[in-house]
């Protein structure tokens, strides 16, 4: 278990003191794949570097299985760093060394390691990450995804307890990202290694994390189960990450027509979005809804998101559609006003007249 206790870090810069982390308190349990997400400049990289003490926190503590890391000297920390290993956005392999030599590097830093056993272990790990034939290749001969696999094998060779992933997939294309995340998940399950994933991509958190903390300006603004955070984002920063289209105003809901009737559907999990719900509504109640805006995501095997529908016809069609949709499991329905006065400075995009209590967070 890793506990971050009131962790703060400030830097002296020419522009004065900058507080990169402010009183961050988090608990990461064994076996977690824990996401730490935030926009660039939120303090993610500083936070992950405090976990293995590459950056010394200004105040607060990092406690690994009951041992305080701030109380340790450099020598003890070097031992800890063999148990808390790291992979990076830029892979950071030695370009003048073969893959095998790269994987072996952490072991060669200790005196009197068993060369034959180390070599066998390194080859085994290269096999685990899917590169059994690249032992003697140089990193320059590999693709980005392959290089990250070598970096993962290198991070595993000291049998770590915790793997820190610092934007490990940010330099990769979506397909490769998916493959690397699958590999990380497999490592988490097969080798029982706790994983901490630092990212700015919500999709990465969705895909592999079970818990997530949202970092904004050096503070944790929200923390919890990934499924909960997706269904019910509380903090503004979280809503921005979960529904970027709404936050940046690109999906303007206030643009036209005073006469159109609109319904918003909120998907709170289950397989709601995978069933042809709108098609069945058209058949069952004869309402031909069209989709105005939609943003759907799946997290932990469930579907979350929202869909904005336009209902043709008059109030009668509207009420038929609403009563039909209310019967669907895991879907909440809001009917929206037909007049949408724009509000200044907020993300509240329209008035709720349907009486649905959904927008508890103040927005959405």
């Amino acid at each position: 278990m890793i506990q971050l206790v009131n962790l703060s870090k400030s830097f002296e810069t020419s522009a004065g003191e900058v507080e990169a982390l402010k009183n961050v308190t988090l608990t990461i349990n064994d076996g977690d794949i824990y996401g730490i997400i935030g926009m660039s400049g939120a303090g993610k990289s500083t936070l992950v570097r405090c976990i293995n003490m590459l950056e010394k926190p200004t105040s607060g503590d990092v406690v690994l299985d009951g041992h305080s890391l701030t109380a340790m000297n450099e020598k003890e920390l070097r031992q800890i760093r063999r148990k808390v290993t790291m992979i990076f956005q830029g892979f950071n392999l030695l370009m003048q060394r073969t893959c095998l030599q790269n994987v072996l590097l952490p072991l060669t830093l200790t005196k009197g390691y068993d060369r034959a056993a180390a070599r066998a272990r390194a080859l085994e790990l290269l096999k685990l990450v899917g590169l059994p034939d690249k032992a003697d290749a140089y990193p320059a001969q590999l693709s980005g995804g392959q290089q990250q696999r070598v970096a993962i094998a290198r991070a595993l060779i000291t049998d770590p307890r915790v793997l820190l992933c610092d934007e490990a997939t940010s330099a990769l294309d979506p397909k490769t990202t998916h493959q690397i995340l699958e590999l990380i998940r497999e490592i988490n399950q097969r080798l029982n290694i706790t994983v901490i994933v630092i990212t700015h991509q919500m999709s990465v958190v969705q895909e592999i994390c079970n818990r997530v903390a949202i970092l904004e300006n050096g503070s944790v603004v929200e923390e919890g189960e990934v499924a909960r955070v997706f269904t019910d984002p509380q903090a503004f920063a979280t809503q921005t990450l979960v529904y970027p289209e709404l936050a940046d105003g690109s999906a303007s809901l206030v643009e036209d027509s005073a006469s159109r009737q609109r319904i918003r559907l909120i998907f709170n999990g289950a397989e709601a979005a995978s069933k042809p719900m709108l098609a069945r509504m058209a058949v069952d109640c004869g309402v031909l809804a069209s989709v105005h805006t939609a943003s759907m995501r799946s997290a932990g095997g469930k579907t979350y998101g929202y869909m904005l529908l336009e209902i043709p016809g008059g109030p009668e069609e509207l009420s038929r559609a609403v009563s039909y949709l209310r019967k669907q499991p895991h879907v909440s329905v809001q009917t929206l006003a037909t007049q949408y006065p724009p509000e200044e400075g907020g993300v509240r995009l329209d008035k709720d007249v349907g009486g649905d209590p959904f927008p508890k967070g103040g927005a959405l």
Partner: protein, 235 residues
Amino acid sequence: MNFSTAFTPEKLQEAWNIIIRDFPGEIWATLYVTILSTLFAIIIGLPLGCVLVAGDAKGIRPLPAWLMTLLNIIINLLRSVPFLILIVMVIPLTRLIIGTSVGTVASIVPLVVAAFPFVARLVESSLREVNPNIIETAQSMGATPMQILTRVMLPEAVPSLITNFTLAITTILGYTAMSGAIGGGGIGKVAITIGYQRYRYAVLYACVVVLVLMVQAFQLVGDFLARKADKRLKK
């Protein structure tokens, strides 16, 4: 210089005789003075360059600021003294080490004194080119500063170091010509004492051609080795 009289058949014949008589020995002298001087300059300059990078305030093993300032001042001072004056300045040191301040072997001392600060700067620039993220990665593995230097920074810098050492050896080759001033041997000495001072211009030009060929040879070998060493190039 009078070209019409410098290259008459008699002059050329005389120059050829000098070339046949002196060049093999003098080329050899130039070669071993250059190579030995470069070797000693690297032996001193390589660790010094490492200290300059590692001991930096933001380096892997910061050293006291006054020490770094002192090192930098010494290096800059040695680098700014003209070589001809440096030769005279280090005469006491040369006597102490070699026993005499005159001769081919004695010319190695001022060459090393002139070249090691230059080599230290070259090593410094090679090491600073190493991707800082890779150094951070080594720290995240629990590497000590010494391990980072020997297992990560120096191996990663090898191609760049070879390129810079090639630059050093060609520069030192140029300096050997000046060491003829204190009786050091070599092609440079022949060019000055016979070619220039005794008006044997054909010999002077022959010396220049030989020096150019030697620089070319060092450069070719250096470039080849650097390319061969660099595993970043896809093959």
